[in-house]
Symmetry: C3
Subunit: 127 residues, 3 copies
């Protein structure tokens, strides 16, 4: 059920962007019980001045390579699940793309199950 | 009060995109009591690899024509209103643009009335 | 902790867009207790037909110069703080860029403190 918005500066290859999406999807399934095949992602490239990440907030070093991930998902994940998600995304992007872990910015927006339609005009998750 | 973000793959005409926005607006007024003229929409075209919709999740078939609609709106809509919204958007896009209903992805994000300023630096809906 | 999405029509200078981001950041620190250097912003230019703001809703006049600001931030701000934020953003954009105050559209999305990772795969604000 999540919708992932991924924003990053232009200049990376299509393969790079696709792999960012792969990592986010794989980790969702592994850490926060997202169903298999539940992959809906919007990946946007921006000019260099379109993505602004403070270069030192909280003592981390960030550059133009910073990746923004904003995930809308159902409420109900535990703090432990959220921590596992953050860590696995940073680890996965580092391992598969060489992204420095300090440059992975993540934000979660939680909504109700009834707030999704996956097509056909139906509320597939409503109870 | 809603803000609609509409994301789709490039390659459609300006008329097509405008009509998608028309349908979302018309349906908001008809089904979830959005006030007349309350139309604020951000419609973004993406390269083909910028919008990823699983081709078969929940048994629906999705292609590069999938339309993503994320609506931020005031909390308080009933489940019936949300269902009516989903159905009417899918029906409207099908009837007016030939969009397959399976390709209409919708997500709602609910906020408080005081979380809006429509201009002039005022919180017009705060009570 | 906020993430600001700023959307506006193309045709402004890089300086203009940067200054919009400056105003939003400065006002966040001044009015809603955002920490210094907590600046994470995504500023997107759109073709003229990609940003739709009703020209007269609630009696305000809006043109293609309308600026959309959607801020995701931690829950807990008072109504007074939100009002102060709206007013100071509209004032700041007017004073520094000549933006008409009627053309400043703002929406807040509130989340929990644990819903952020600022890098390194950690939940820096979780308690």
């Amino acid at each position: 059920m999540p919708l992932a918005r991924i924003d990053l500066a232009q200049g990376k290859s299509p393969d790079y962007r696709r792999t960012v999406g792969d990592v986010v999807y794989d980790v969702m399934v592994a850490t926060v019980n997202a169903p298999k095949d539940d992959r809906f992602q919007i990946i946007t490239e921006h000019p260099p001045d379109g993505v602004i990440a403070d270069p030192s907030y909280l003592g981390l070093r960030r550059t133009a390579n910073c990746i923004f991930i904003q995930l809308t998902l159902n409420e109900g994940r535990t703090l432990d699940q959220k921590r596992a998600f953050y860590k696995a995304v940073a680890d996965g992007l580092h391992e598969r793309l060489g992204v420095r872990r300090e440059e992975v910015f993540i934000n979660l927006v939680e909504v109700k199950k009834e707030n999704w339609s996956f097509g056909n005009g139906e509320a597939q998750y409503a109870q």
